[in-house]
């Protein structure tokens, strides 16, 4: 097995008396689609926030491509190839769809202290942005105002923006959140295609999607990883059934 692209060791984060991340360790080798699942309140969002740098861990280490990034600020993580899509759609709503992606391209195209040239006429920004939009199937929406798109299209735009920076690892925070069955299926197809080219950490509630896509799955419960393994191993894991799937059964009852 090659050296892991992302390696998390003994990560911990507390908020007052609540342990949100409790001694979490896992590794993702290049090319893997690794899914992170867990019931509500398990600490998935907190973990993603630490990986993307919007909050810092209390202890433990995050290594990316061999470098320690535990204390690296958020904007710098994006430059070394870690791209994050947001669970709650977080876009530039009053700008055009193409502007949104072009900004993501621009973030990786050197500094932006360019005051005179029309950025909307720069092929170096617009072309990669159009490619990313085409990749998620939004090419025909490029000139639309972002606020006018549907929720499903917003999710796809999120993905296009993450792709625009040519990342080495995609952190996808619930890309299916709020999608209808049809849109969900479209997103699964999209992720299956992306999986060929990218290493992906997928945080997702949609179990069907997770088991269909993931190479390996880690299960987070109360801030701890209770199991990591292939979809089959996870499905057969007794501890997971009790802590997680059992939870779902109770909910259905």
């Amino acid at each position: 097995m090659s050296a892991p692209l992302l390696e998390v060791g003994h990560l911990a984060k507390r908020f007052g008396g609540i342990v949100a991340t409790d001694d979490v360790s896992f590794a993702i080798p290049p090319g893997e689609l690794h899914a992170l699942i867990g019931p509500n309140g398990a600490g998935k969002t907190t973990l993603i926030a630490q990986l993307s740098g919007s909050i810092f861990a209390d202890s433990g280490a995050i290594r990316f491509a061999g470098a320690d990034i535990t204390r690296l600020p958020m904007q710098k993580r994006s430059h070394i190839g870690l791209a994050r899509s947001f669970q709650i759609t977080s876009l530039f709503l009053n700008m055009s769809v193409l502007d949104n992606v072009a900004l993501a391209v621009q973030a990786h195209a050197g500094h932006s202290f360019s005051f005179w040239r029309n950025a909307r006429a720069e092929a170096a920004l617009r072309e990669p942005a159009r490619e990313a939009l085409a990749r998620v199937g939004l090419a025909d929406r490029a000139e639309r105002l972002t606020a006018s798109l549907s929720h499903g299209e917003h999710r796809l735009l999120e993905l296009a923006m993450a792709l625009a920076g040519q990342p080495r690892l995609l952190l996808l925070d619930e890309p299916m959140a709020g999608l209808g069955p049809e849109e969900s299926a479209r997103m699964v197809g999209m992720l299956r295609a992306l999986k060929r080219d990218y290493t992906i950490l997928l945080v997702e509630h949609d179990m069907e999607a997770v088991f269909a896509l993931a190479d390996r799955i880690s299960v987070l419960v109360y801030g701890r990883i209770i199991a990591t393994g292939s979809p089959d191993e996870i499905r057969g894991n007794q501890q997971v059934r009790e802590a997680y799937l059992g939870d779902a059964e109770t909910a259905h009852a």
Binding site: L103, A104, S112, F115
Partner: protein, 325 residues
Amino acid sequence: MPPKTSLLTLRNIVVALLLIALALLPVYAQLAGDRFALTLFTRIVIMALAAVSLNLILGFGGMMSFGHAVYLGIGGYAVGMLAKEGVYSGFVQWPVAILASALFALVIGALSLRTRGVYFIMITLAFAQMAYYIFAGIARYGGDDGLTIYKRSQFIEALNLSDKVQFYYVCLVILFAAIYLVYRLINSRFGMVLQGVRSNEVRMRAIGFATYRYKLTAFVIAGVLCGLSGALLANQADFVSPSVMYWTRSGDLIIMVVLGGMGTVIGPVMGAIALLVLEEVLSGFTEYWQIILGPLLLLVVLFARGGIDGLLATLGERFTLRRPS
């Protein structure tokens, strides 16, 4: 692709007429013998420059500075203090006004941009009030009473700022240049970053922008433009006093920007004209003219979010829609 929008919209026609009217105003003043119109509009053009500068950070950058008038004072005092010391050359005065404003903006911005929301508003306000009291306390330069400027800035032989028409055109050229500068700026990479920050700063940082330095740069550019406006204002009034940077003056600038239309290039110019003409006309009827201004502002905020500029665009669309095609 959406249909190409026509250049000949109601809004663009109004803007073009407005700019032409500003350019021809001295001709009217001359023909009609209306010297007062020229004085009023010189002031309007100068304040429009200040509003345009505030709009860069407020309208495009989403930075709610409540102390922007401080640069009117900095620019004004740069001219006034140098004049008092016998330095009348505009080639010295204006660069000093610009540099001092830049320095001030750099310090204020560096500290205040670390905060957001209400705290940002409060800190910018506090800095401006601090400057107000400092200048009010310098006896040598008139303190509270202000400083009379006996000679306007001197440039070359051919340019006489004491000539009302020449001075008006100097102000107008600077305003037009500033509008063009802002127009280029907001469409550049820098401007895209600025507008991204206004729209969603967290996301900007997540996709890899160190937003602070871009905001600070915009803050300094806005300060410089407003400082220039201050230098012009001092020349126009032949006088500068701490009151130009009092917080209500910062409020006036915000009103101009909101009234005219936040985040449009020409909106603040419309806002400056609307506010100052309204003030002039209404105060002719009653000294309580603000009783009328208040509800008017309320209507704009409630029903015309895009200000006058936005209103024109909306009206233009309605007009086009009704036309049989």
